[in-house]
Amino acid sequence: MSLKAATKVSMLLGQCVPCLKQNTSKFKVKRLELDENLLMYFKKDEFVYAHDPENKCKTGDIVLMEQLPQKKTRLVTHAVKEVIYPFGDITDPLTGKKVVAGKYRDHIEAVTKVYGQTKNGFKYDKAPLRGWQENKKDFTHADTYIKYHDDGKDQPYAV
């Protein structure tokens, strides 16, 4: 049984990965492929490009995409519909509260308040949204590579 190609499905859920193209985001779509010999499903990643003129997807976001009635280019077959889970800023779908790992953010803050909040500690209401350290100290928005040439210039994406 062969799998229908990801680009031919009308709606897709994928994770955003770094992409250099303008007005376009690249997504990793996880699919399950049947191994006929073992009769078991195995994970298979496919990459889909989606039209994203407002650049609302950031690396790591879980995004719902919709198929375009007409292909934009040879690669761009989908358009971004909705960012479902922004990366590192998860909202619990049942209660609508913000979640950090296994705890509610409210609970963490309540505990902190009981002990007495310090002045320097991290505060959610004052923290800016994701992206203010981009290209300064956080280089996750682009692919890194192993440094292969020493040209004397600064190479921020070289590891």
Binding site: G60, P86, F87, G88, D89, I90, V100, A101, T112, Y115, G116, Q117, T118, N120, G121, F122, Y124, A127, P128, L129, R130, W132, Q133, K136, K137, D138, F139, T140, D143, T144, Y145, I146, K147, Y148, H149, D150, D151, Y157, V159
Partner: protein, 280 residues
Amino acid sequence: MSAARLILKNVTENPLLRSNLNINNTSLRQYAFKSDLKIKWVRPEKIPCYKPEKSGDLAGVPKLDKSQYQLDFRNSKELETANEHVKKLFSLEFAPKSEVNRLYRKDLCDSIKRHEYDMGSIEVKLTKWTGIIRAWQEAMERFPRNRILKVHLKELIDKRKKHLKYLRRWDYRKFEWLIEKLDIVYKPPPNEFHWITRKDSLRKLTNTYCEDTRNEKLAAFRAVLEAEQPAFLEEKIRTLQFIRDEQQDCGADVTVSQEEIDGVKKQLADLLESRKEEED
């Protein structure tokens, strides 16, 4: 004379065929081909994994005020009334290096923690490790052959990186706040790992060289076209005006409107103005 000999004789005597043979000898050689582009490849120097350049630490252990008391004697009441020499003995000046590092770590954690008794939150853990890493990196500079320390340091750097990765996934805002506070650069691992080879590096460099050449040529062509733009627009105005006048004179249907001509005139004026602004 056998057929083979005859062919050989022909080949050696006929100058045209001989030259062909030479061409074949050189141009068909596809193995060990060396590019004659003047690209110089410099192999990057290996940076040991424990160095701050690799671990991402932008700041080291700062120089602390040596006259302050050691951590354990900070709030001592006896020291307040002690004499000058005793006070000096309990200052950082006479303390071992580990005490200085401990104090640095404590100060760093104090600037991060959520509440007074915060010892185990992820940000404090990462801060503590950062303090240890920076102190050890200093020690590695002094004792580069300390292999045990090197292993511990590498393991701690990797652990910090792993937990930074987790924090990024759990809470992006805190992650950004923390790396800004601690002066750490976070780079994700590359998608594929392969050691650096001359062949592959030269291939990549050749690709960038070709890309640059292409862009340069395109830019030059663009400049030529842009230089021709005003002259072309003037010509266009003249031609449109001529067509319009002729059509009016001959009484034929006027296909060129005055707005069209004015539009082109405006375009020309805008273009000249923008060029002037650029020059200024």
